[in-house]
Symmetry: C2
Subunit: 149 residues, 2 copies
DNA sequence: TTTGCATTGATATTAATTGCCATTTGCGTT
DNA sequence: AACGCAAATGGCAATTAATATCAATGCAAA
């Protein structure tokens, strides 16, 4: 659970990576922005405001690197681009509600599935290490505007 | 639950669509091939063997059309392309195991989540209409070759 | 047969991501 | 402080899935 840049630095060092200024800048975006799901382009636009000389390729590389370190979590909500968020709670407890109307994504943490992995593992030959649960529906704003009930 | 071409024809007719030869050929791939998850390119390659004059665009269009009719189900397993499968059992009961080593995908049907939607809906402001559950791990073949236990 | 309209197939286009490579940077060693 | 070198960067080309475009085709009704 990396809460600070220093903890990220330790994780990088442990795998012989450096905490470059660019990596620090990109990491800071996620530490600042809170509970949001950003695409690579999102991050690029935010970062460019204060650091116009950063490259898009570096953003992609850094997001992948931080995902490998499990500092970030790479997700796909079906809109054709990957999205990234801070991996604070363990992956297992974090799930998503996705609005079919406007695409809004809301995260929530719950461990209701923890027992389920063993049940599934017993029925199959898989060694399960992770899971991902997404709910699709209509958010409150869209429910008010259209008749989705 | 469309088991036959005729049932698909009815569903198409109900929405003013025709069962063209191309659509029938593409649909037949899924009826023949059983429990697999095919990309548009996969379908295109299979279909081209006996019908070399079919176009890739038509494959894409037909897969989208059949997904709209809920004859097929469009899925994403994180390998950068959409995959399609017969939508026999309801979507709600169909889930997937994905091998992190070789990418193999295994489907299984289970209704263990049916009660969960209400629990989540109660905690959030979403009107939930669907969900998707994926498990990640290592398939039997990969477990034998590498030490993943 | 003629007209209208959905469908098709070839091709161009879009958009996210990755690959490539010359240049720069961080950092340990002199 | 200057050096050497691998790692990292930035700009841009290349790739790739998917979509858009559009002329040609085919079917169905009049
Ligand atoms: Zn919404
Ligand atoms: Zn989230
Ligand atoms: Zn495997
Ligand atoms: Zn399946």
């Amino acid at each position: 659970m990396p809460l600070s840049i220093n903890e990220v630095k330790k994780l990088l060092r442990a795998k012989e990576y450096k905490l470059t200024p660019q990596r620090q800048i990109i990491m800071q975006v996620f530490l600042d922005i809170g509970d949001q799901h950003l695409s690579a382009e999102d991050v690029y636009q935010i970062v460019k405001q204060k650091h116009p000389d950063i490259g898009l390729a570096t953003v992609y590389r850094t997001l992948d690197l931080l995902s490998d370190l499990e500092v970030l979590r790479k997700m796909d909500f079906g809109d054709g681009r990957s999205r990234f968020e801070l991996n604070t709670a363990g992956t297992h407890q974090h799930h998503h509600l996705i609005c079919l109307e406007c695409g809004a994504v809301e995260g929530f943490d719950d461990d209701l599935l923890d027992g389920l992995e063993q049940v599934i593992a017993a029925k199959s030959k898989f060694k399960i290490v992770d899971h991902q649960l997404k709910f699709y529906g209509y958010c409150q704003a869209c429910r008010k505007q259209e008749a989705h009930d």
